[in-house]
Symmetry: D2
Subunit: 368 residues, 4 copies
């Protein structure tokens, strides 16, 4: 079972609420002997950190990660390495303004999980969304940094996992302009520098209106060896879909051509194969997004995810409170006008966690 | 772990290859005391059965299911009931024409899992796709029929799960014409009778050309109580995404507005709530598709899935064989021009299995 | 979750009732490329088969196993091999005499699971104990035969798993007489030929009195590489304890010196180590039974299990029926006077399954 | 998979090494609405705490537990309650004397897990045994305190779980003197006050000799409703055996009469049943230890476990180091002469965790 754990052999269990003392993750199943320091993890966390531009929440969190277990530095070695035991990661919460939330203690914010948490549990930590807050994704990013280390240790040549934001509202990138180097050069993780300019205008308008907007992200993993994944209920694409759909606000996931494949003919969709220069099969296209029958083909794995608009907006919406009274509610507090932006490093992290898990599963599945 | 098992408390393990002696499923975790006969399951199987129109594979399978365990009829009772022990379901394969496949014993059919199975396992049952054949989905439909029984036993008023085909290639239904009664009245499971006429023309053209085409399906579950599901890695939408993505040829999944949500504003997307006639919260729209924060809201659960075109087509495509030789391959044998059609009862089954699992998990999660 | 499944990467799911049409197992996670025929499995099944001496139940079952999936014979290869997909095994029930059980349809046989099944499920298949019958152990033995194949494929030199019966009632073997070659030379699986004579007298007396008696078994696995197992909740001894305790009628499990270790001093108990002829550490004793900290040390793994006396006896015992009426019940039907005897191949099978699972887990745990 | 997690619906994941900054546990699956404070947990931790008598390790740990997530105090309610989200528990390590361990940095202490950890992982945190230290059991006790709360919330009348030490070396209690009130009145958790006197003499002699000795513990759970547990691989006794065998230094586990059952006749062993004053079945004896067919009978659940002598002793023993050199090693540092004593609250905790898990699983298994 997996209420709060993701993965089977590389397992990430996260804990913590938005306004509790801390959040964290326990990463179990990390192989031994991998160099790991807090700085390795911090780099990924800093990309996700709030407050870095006017387009994301102004909550100021240091997001300093502590490693509490699972690494050991022998004085005769070259730095801390994993030991094969659980890696406990903790991030203190420092900028909680819980009083901001008194108004919504009883009322169900439309689009949020307030009503459903109450329906399930009969109780909820309403401060900042509690457990359902996007703050939990910091734990994912921290665990994802460990997963990247695992992949680099297990795969000669390494696995490169990168995500980008390809659409905000109705504004999409031009794929001909795709340049990975641009992604970290603008506040939107846009791979298209020109689109970033349009994104800025679009999002400034939305932000000033106190509104919000959705987004589409793309995640690409290069270097995944053919063979990872497993029929029929341990499919790699099934697990990627689950990983991405588990991110807050995600409403759709597709692999390769995804929904567009519905309009293709069999002739177009079937990625033809020729003998490559190394004698190995070489695919002539990648409509499949790197996965056939649930198993990696060796091509880049390509996934996209749709993020809904932030539900916290300044315009009042109709709702009810837990006593059944009708109220109108405008959400105050500090929020992201487009929560899809900060989802970029989170999507990378979830892809990394899924792949690290499958890297280890492949060994167990094949006995090799 | 879950190579061939889906679910946690209601668990379905399938086994069998397209051209072996039989296929089947073991359904573990079915609560006791539920009436269940082979006829109950047969009805669902018959909807998926091949050979029922010219638009699906002409393979002729009786698809008779046998219940080998897990039900018991006391002579003082009113028919067989589940006992809480594993329900073993078996369907004999009767119309295997394995010689059809000799030509592709070594060659990797583009779009199929031939190459990836070999990359993973170094061996594969090439007859009819072996384990990766859509034939396995008969086991899913059989298990899904049991899941429906479980849902009806656990939920007062029952849970209604229905799927429909809403797009074939570039032809889509008109949602204003949606009529569930039409779905079983045409060979496409189309809820729009007018669209069914267009589908027929479109697919006849494709079939005669020896080509194939993709499709989009929609699955709707009504009657799911608010509260099923769980944050953060046991989300109901995460599990639905995994369930649907595990179906052969599926390349995309969305919940509620899905990818369209990326273009919405927060004002539009947030489903407003008012006090209903029964005093309970009543949603004024369902952009969320019935799930908020991974937990059911009590609204209908709405999911869509994209199915790629059948990879088996008459036009030759470039490929290589396992020895590295380049060949051109046209697939013979009996195939579906649009595998999305027969995916309709499979999508219903996977939704039913996912919901039955969550129905039981909800009890364990809340202690109620 | 694991109602009817044992193992994580090498997973065995069993199904079937004593008096249903068949019993079986689905073995998932078997690595590909391993030679496997029904005959390989049959040899193990025949050792467990009822009716082979007057000391075991006279039920006559052919116990012919069918392999329904998961193996494939390419016409260019040397026989059927596993493909990495689930192996479905089925054994038809042929000698059910269900009318024998009419008398205990409502009454709870003392020592049996009748009352507890009713308490849990409110319904039970009372014919021959239904799911709780020792008949289910045939499925374990069949799956165990596959597990042995896996171990031999994964471990150079192979893993040898043997069990013996070391005590019946108050009669115990003399360990100085231990000779593995004797085990299959007497109807008790006794490694001590002299003790077998005493066992025969003892058990004849018990059998004629319509009584029954308990037993102690020992299972030894040789060739297990140092390193299998995992702290702290995936311990090898923890999983062996679970595997053996899951066998019908088992009430105790110990590893190495087991309960006798309570009386040892630290000096005696600590297995000292010296440098072996190959330069590797060599243990001078094996009080630990081959496991330290939950991880195999490379020494033989030694486990013992206690089996309670068969609860089905001719002497009437007090009980009640499901309506609360007090009755006295003598069990008729065909039963084992010492169910511990036929547990010997079952204990081997459970050890094999546990070790095959850990062999695969070790790869996933270490990334090697 | 379960390297460092125990349980399925009530799941405990522990992390931390003996000489790292902290140890802890994440308790996932705790139902909502249960009152829980750090003080509730502290009471159980204090019973396990080192340094409380001369018979246990002199390491001085405050063992103060912090609750970092999963509870919430609404200002309108009567104290903190669980919310259904993961409960993160942390205990800081304060009295590490890591320099004590420099001598055993390379040498494998006989009886310890040093060699096997190295064999598995190729690296280990040798300070105080690292992850294999008994210090980890503090996390178990903390999680066990939460499990007790869950049981009390779910079972009307509550479940009482108590353990006692019934044997130290060759000295055993007299069961006729059993008095639960004595258990916390002597430093041995002995239920027999007279035996406690003998234990004291015996252990003083052992302690002064720098030796150690093993022990036998008994755990009893009263109030468990008939029906918990599940055939055939989710048996309650199977899970109890796994839970107890996972505790450091445990080498044997038995349920009810355990190994003594091997010597019983079927007549004696079968617990007879009569109609109780409340009309419900009433057992006349409890040889089964409260479990039949893997399912609780409603009688007290009785388990015993054997703990080997502490391997850390002052007398030098033969061993080798990781370079293959032969050395003789006497363990210094602060240790327990009988590690079985402090295992008493740990055994209670593992029983509580197992039962809380089964309490929740029962709901999912039966749909009730």
């Amino acid at each position: 079972m997996s209420h709060n754990t993701f993965g089977h052999l590389f397992r990430v269990t996260t804990w913590g609420e938005s306004h509790g003392p801390a959040i964290g993750a326990v990463v179990d199943g990390c192989p031994p002997g991998i160099r790991l320091t807090a700085e390795d993890i911090q780099a990924d966390l800093d990309r996700r950190k709030p407050g870095q531009s006017r387009f994301v929440t102004q909550r100021r969190e240091e997001d300093r990660v502590e490693i509490l277990s699972g690494v050991f530095e022998d004085d005769r070695t070259d730095g801390p390495r994993t030991t094969g035991t659980p890696i406990s990661l903790m991030i203190r919460n420092t900028d909680q303004r819980s009083k901001d939330y008194a108004a919504i203690r009883d009322a169900y914010r439309p689009g949020h999980a307030d009503f459903t948490y109450d329906a399930k549990y009969g109780v909820r930590d309403y401060r900042g969304g509690g457990r359902s807050s996007a703050r939990e994704t910091a734990s994912r990013v921290a665990a994802g940094a460990v997963a990247r280390k695992v992949l680099d240790a297990l795969v000669p040549g390494g696995v490169t996992i990168r995500a980008a934001l390809v659409q905000i509202g109705s504004e999409a990138i031009d794929r001909l302009n795709w340049d990975w180097a641009q992604v970290d050069a603008n506040p939107f993780f846009s791979p298209d520098a020109e689109a970033a300019v349009r994104f800025e205008e679009h999002l400034d308008r939305i932000r000033k209106a106190g509104s919000s907007v959705g987004a589409v992200l793309e995640v690409v993993a290069e270097g995944v060896p053919a063979g990872w994944g497993a029929p029929l209920y341990g499919k790699l694409d099934q697990d990627i879909a689950a990983a991405l759909m588990s991110i807050n606000a995600v409403k759709g996931v597709e692999i390769g051509d995804g929904f567009a494949a519905a309009e293709l003919s069999g002739e177009t969709n079937a990625d033809e194969i020729r003998r490559g220069p190394d004698g190995r099969p070489q695919f002539l296209s990648n409509h499949a997004g790197g996965i056939l029958g649930g198993i990696a083909s060796g091509q880049p794995i390509v996934a996209r995810l749709a993020v809904k608009p932030t539900s916290s907006i300044l315009t009042a919406r109709h709702t009810v409170d837990r006593h059944g009274a009708e109220v109108d509610l405008a959400t105050k507090g500090r929020h992201d006008p487009c929560v899809g932006i900060r989802a970029v490093p989170v999507a990378e992290a979830m892809m990394a966690i899924t792949l690290a898990d499958h890297a280890l599963r492949h060994r167990g599945q094949t006995g090799r």
